[in-house]
Amino acid sequence: MNSSFGLKHIAQFFLFVALQVLLMDSLVLFSTGFCFIYVAFLLFLPLVISRVWLLALAFILGFTVDMFYDTMGIHAAASVLLAFLRPHILNLLTPRDGYEASDTVNIHTMGGRWFLAYTFTLVLLHHTAVFFLETITFQTAWYTIVKILLSTFFTGIVMVILQLLFFSHKRERIDYR
């Protein structure tokens, strides 16, 4: 287990799951735009974290959401996929002089472009997995693709708003989040 995983992240886990289940569940745009904000928990974890631990966390997170959504396995599968791809995406997006030890996923310190590229890529992959696992068939592929794009946009925007509201400019994050 990584030492940078602490009480703060456990609190975040419950906050994001509660936000997803209690609020975002009933917030659907035009019957097509869904917001799966709970993935923010995985995205906002420390940059350096053991891969196996990350996968396990993703499974627990997805499974919890699945229990509320009655979609056994769908969100868990998509979250595990996201957790597997996260280190690779982080590698791809490495700044010119590498990550610093104090770097966290923060729109202020890492810059808007880095944050948007990181968030939207991973969220897009996650949502693609969720919606195609949900339908299984490719018969309604166009509808599914529209759903994926709109939902990615929705989730991404909410994530940026959360960052701007609750994450500080300083290197260290505020404690109450």
Binding site: L22, A56, F59, F68, D70, G73, E134
Partner: protein, 288 residues
């Protein structure tokens, strides 16, 4: 051997990933056909408590509409009761000499019990929608029972815990319901194809029937889940495609799934008898 362990250790992340994905797919496939006790879904005790807490708050915002539905239902029931009383007054069969009295069909003698349940979780916009109701084994709810609302058919119980149950909504890609056109008694199958939660498809109506827009669709009663004659909806459009031997009929649902507040779980007291009989006879039905 050491090399093998070194290899496993080197690719541990990938191996864990594959294992977890396989587990997810297994859960996904198994859950689709699963019916029984609730473990890891919204009928689970703790999940149910959270959902009940949530609906306890949100229900306040639609108390007026909930009250209106209940009052309307009460009015309908009172009307029905008055009609029954009048009929009973006019009917003297029961007091006739027993030699002339022929007992009616035994299946008509009220084989259905209703258990009320409050809807605490509901979805209409996913591909596979489920409801969670605050009624479980303690209230007599069992997996496989039908669920109806005052307006019509809602779905079928999937899993139950002590105090909660999940219901496969009619708005589920694998839910099939045996229904008939009331005017002509022709039966077909109701299914939902996704998208709009107000319309469903009525399949297998042969071309020699002449259905009319506005015709009422009710349950057929050909199985043990729903009683005969429960409202499903009305025909909203009829199409005859050139290469098909059945009509493509769209049905406007009678139930507004987005507004569900209270539902009734239908218990068929003769279910077991009828199912064993049908199974022994080799009749297997896949629709509800």
């Amino acid at each position: 051997m050491r090399n093998l362990f070194a290899f496993i250790y080197r690719f541990r992340a990938f191996l864990v990933f594959v294992l977890l994905e396989a587990l997810c797919v297994y859960l996904l496939v198994r859950y689709n056909t699963y019916q029984g006790a609730a473990f890891f879904n919204s009928a689970n005790k703790y999940v149910g408590q959270v959902l009940e807490f949530q609906s306890g708050i949100t229900d306040y915002f639609r108390l007026t509409s909930i009250n209106q539905t209940l009052a309307k239902e009460n009015a309908n029931l009172r009307q029905e009761l008055m009609r029954q009383r009048l009929l009973a007054l006019a009917d003297s069969t029961a007091s006739l000499d027993s030699t002339y009295y022929a007992a009616t069909d035994s299946s008509q003698a009220n084989p259905y019990l209703l258990h009320a349940g409050r809807v605490i979780n509901n979805s209409v916009r996913r591909m596979n929608n489920y409801l969670t109701i605050a009624a479980g084994t303690a209230d007599g709810v069992k997996p496989g029972m039908g669920v109806v609302s005052p307006q019509g058919v809602v779905g079928r119980v999937k899993t139950v815990s002590e105090n909660y149950a999940t219901v496969t909504s009619l708005l589920h890609s694998q839910m099939l319901i045996s229904a008939k056109i009331r005017a002509s008694d022709t039966f077909g199958t109701i299914k939902w194809t996704g998208g709009d939660y107000r319309t469903v498809l009525l399949d297998y109506i042969p071309l020699h029937i002449k259905p009319v827009k506005g015709d009422t669709i009710v349950t057929s009663g050909f199985n043990t889940v729903f009683p005969e004659g429960i409202m499903v909806g009305t025909i909203s459009s009829i199409e005859q495609e050139p290469d098909k031997s059945f009509y493509t009929i769209k049905v406007k649902l009678a139930v507004d799934f987005a507004q569900l507040s209270y539902v009734y779980v239908v218990e068929n007291t003769k279910e077991e008898e009828r199912e064993t009989l049908e199974q022994n006879a080799g009749i297997i039905t896949d629709e509800q």
